[in-house]
């Protein structure tokens, strides 16, 4: 494919998605306006129609990514076999993590590379930003353990350079972005590429090698992102997310890939970067003013991707690459904590979206991120405006003209509102059904236990996410309001482990959501009882929020939500578990504080 045809293909994909999304949004708004204005046009009808446009557009845009992904789906290319001639640093940033578990990941990935005979092309650097001195000392102990486990003394005795490095910063200036930047400013000149990981990342050696070969083959490629699969979940919530990420995300990511052109995404980890490209174009400044809108850029990965594209480098996600793994939150509270940080990071991009010289698609990606967090506000406003419109609707006037002989019955436009509601629900379900049909036709369902199990997983995930969605909506709305009111979310703890919650913990996190649920029911009952049936699917989950938060944190086991990684454990994950087991019997002690503070899941 030539560059010109590739560019026109990208533009056509973007235009198709935008046109369909805008068209569906406008159609839904027009229908809703007819329904709302059936009893005479009021200002609130226009507001409701505008809100329907924005929310429907946003849902349609999401659905179009799946459609684009299915349209543009291609057979994965064969792995490259060109010799590796470059040097790559594999960077593992850690921040108050359990060193045994994290360093065992390093050992597992090194074993994977060793099986391919490629270790001489790769060094590992553990970049610690751990602020707890006891934990820092434990990291040093475990690094010695890793050093011995990887036989670095024997390597040095043979006259070879060691391949494992450890550095701890006393102050975590710039957080993860600052940590990585510090590495390049200290040691970047020794390497052609750097593989950026998170503390919970695992990658197969052949995936790492394929990334390097692809980057060697394309000198203009500045960053190559993999699509990490979520693994290791054990709770109902965690396994539902793990299933959804494994089953749907490859199609959605393919859709993104079809539209991204040279301005693809960077998700902060499990991605290979070209050192020269990154160092030339990705040193982030602090934004003026205090947090949450000023200070260090929280979601730095999106900004780095945009800056690479601005400098003329290609940034790309290759969803066909397997063997790339991460872990996800196990319960709704941990999810909400992570989402709070992402919310602040994405809203901070309001300050970056007008940066000079950015590609239009990079600006659109920022806009998408901002809208994804503001969208819940639109849904809340839509709910409130409907309650207001119903409560203030004028009495039906059957004799609008003086001396009118026959009554005039207002035309019933309810079917149009029902049509919009059905359409909105369809936009939520349609992409998932499409992905299921596609997976059945291509045989991908076999990786998820077959068509019946995949269908069961899809339906159950749909029900769970429908119940969870209003609760998430409340958390997101609170997060957005907190950021707009100037409250910095800081760097909250991300808990590792099975994530099981007690009812008391669930109640402590969800009582205020319950109160909102009760308030919505009371207000609806008082002012717009006709809307009660429409409001119940939202208000009932709110009222029982603590129960939902607790119940979804309970353990879950296959076969439902089974994923390919559960059916056939990838070698690097099996190695990691084995090494953790071995080290737990022979390694240094781990301080009790290890699970208290946080890990940086993203960037």
């Amino acid at each position: 494919m030539t560059v010109k045809s590739a560019t026109s293909g990208v533009l056509a994909a973007r235009a198709f998605a935008v046109l369909v999304s805008v068209g569906l949004g406008a159609g839904a708004a027009a229908l809703f306006l007819q329904f709302g204005a059936a009893d005479g046009y009021q200002m609130v009808d226009g507001v409701r129609a505008a809100l329907v446009f924005v929310t429907t557009f946003w849902l349609a845009w999401g659905a179009m990514q799946a459609v684009e992904g299915l349209i543009s789906s291609r057979k994965a290319p064969l792995p490259m076999t060109t010799p590796i001639t470059t040097r790559t640093a594999i960077l593992m940033p850690v921040y108050n993590e359990d060193p045994a578990v994290v360093f065992a990941r390093v050992a597992a990935m090194d074993e994977s590379l060793a099986r391919l005979g490629l270790t001489d092309h790769f060094d590992f650097a553990i970049l610690s930003d751990t602020q707890d001195d006891r934990l820092g000392s434990a990291e040093e102990d475990w690094f010695i353990h890793l050093w011995d486990d990887r036989q670095q003394d024997a390597r040095k005795a043979q006259g070879l350079a060691h391949r494992f490095f450890y550095r701890r910063r006393q102050k975590n200036t710039g957080r993860k972005a600052g940590n990585i930047q510090n590495f390049f400013e200290t040691s970047g000149a020794d390497y052609d590429f750097a593989l950026i990981l998170d503390a919970d990342s695992l990658m197969e050696g052949d995936t790492i090698a394929e990334l390097v070969r692809r980057m060697q083959a394309e000198p203009e490629l500045g960053l190559l992102q993999t699509l990490p699969r979520v693994t290791g979940a054990t709770s109902r919530f965690g396994r539902a997310m793990q299933f959804a990420a494994g089953f749907y995300s490859p199609v959605f990511a393919q859709g993104q890939a079809a539209m991204q052109g040279v301005a693809g995404p960077f998700w902060g980890h499990n991605a290979l970067i070209r050192v020269r490209a990154f160092t030339e174009s990705c040193a982030l400044p602090e934004l003026s003013g205090p947090p949450p809108f000023g200070g260090h850029i929280l979601s730095h990965d999106y900004v780095e991707a945009a800056l690479l594209a601005r400098a003329g480098w290609t940034v790309r996600v290759d969803p066909d690459l397997g063997g790339s793994f991460e872990e996800g939150p196990e319960n709704m509270i941990d999810f909400a904590k992570r989402d709070r940080r992402w919310c602040q990071g994405n809203l901070q991009h309001i300050r970056v979206i007008s940066a000079p010289g950015l590609k239009a698609w990079s600006r659109f990606v920022f806009f998408q991120g901002i809208l994804s967090y503001i969208a819940p506000l639109f849904w809340m406003m839509f709910l409130a405006s409907n309650l207001y419109a119903t409560a203030t609707a004028p009495e039906t006037d059957f004799f609008p003209e003086p001396f009118q002989l026959f009554p005039v019955f207002p035309s019933d436009q309810t079917s149009k509102a029902v049509g919009v509601a059905v359409g909105v629900f369809g936009l939520l379900v349609f992409p998932k059904v499409l992905v299921l049909v596609d997976a059945a036709l291509r045989g991908r369902v076999s990786q998820f236990g077959g068509t019946v199990l995949a269908l069961r997983g899809m339906v159950r995930e749909l029900v769970m996410s429908s119940i969870n969605a209003p609760i998430m909506l409340m958390w997101q709305t609170r997060a957005v309001l907190q950021v707009f009111l100037g409250r910095d979310g800081g760097w909250p703890a991300q808990t590792r482990g099975d994530g099981r919650l007690t009812l008391a913990e669930a109640f402590a996190a969800g009582w205020w959501i319950q109160i909102w649920g009760i308030a919505v029911i009371l207000v609806t009952n008082s002012f717009a009882p006709d809307l009660m049936l429409w409001v119940l699917p939202i208000s009932v989950p709110l009222v029982v929020a603590p129960l939902v938060i607790w119940a979804t944190s309970l353990p879950s086991t296959p076969p439902v939500f089974v994923t390919p990684e559960e059916l056939d454990l990838p070698k690097v994950i099996a190695d990691h578990r084995r090494i953790v087991q071995q080290w737990s019997q022979a390694g240094p002690a781990i301080p009790a504080t290890v699970n208290a503070p946080a890990a940086e899941l993203t960037a």
Binding site: A125, E140, D141, F143, I144, W147, Q152, H162, F164, F165, Y166, R167, Q181, F183, F184, E185, T186, S187, G188, A189, D190, V275, T279, E280, S281, C282, A283, L284, P285, L287, S288, G289, P290, F293, G294, V303, L307, I350, R351, V352, I353, S354, A355, P356, V483, F484, L485, G486
Partner: protein
Amino acid sequence: MDARMTLQDMARNGSDRARSDNRRAAILSMAGLPDAPLVMPRQVIQVSQPSIIYATQNAARRLYSLMTEGFGPAARGR
């Protein structure tokens, strides 16, 4: 006899610990990041001076830039 053995053990343990500490320090020193610096020039992502915006941008873009630039301070009530 027992007391002498205990003293020997203590001496041996102390010597082992010292050796282990020395080795630990040597490895950690050796495993520090290699000295191969690269310069990372600070990127401009925020046009903070309105005069620069006015000089280089057309009217629509100027308005857009000012709105997006001003959004953060306005939201903080400054």
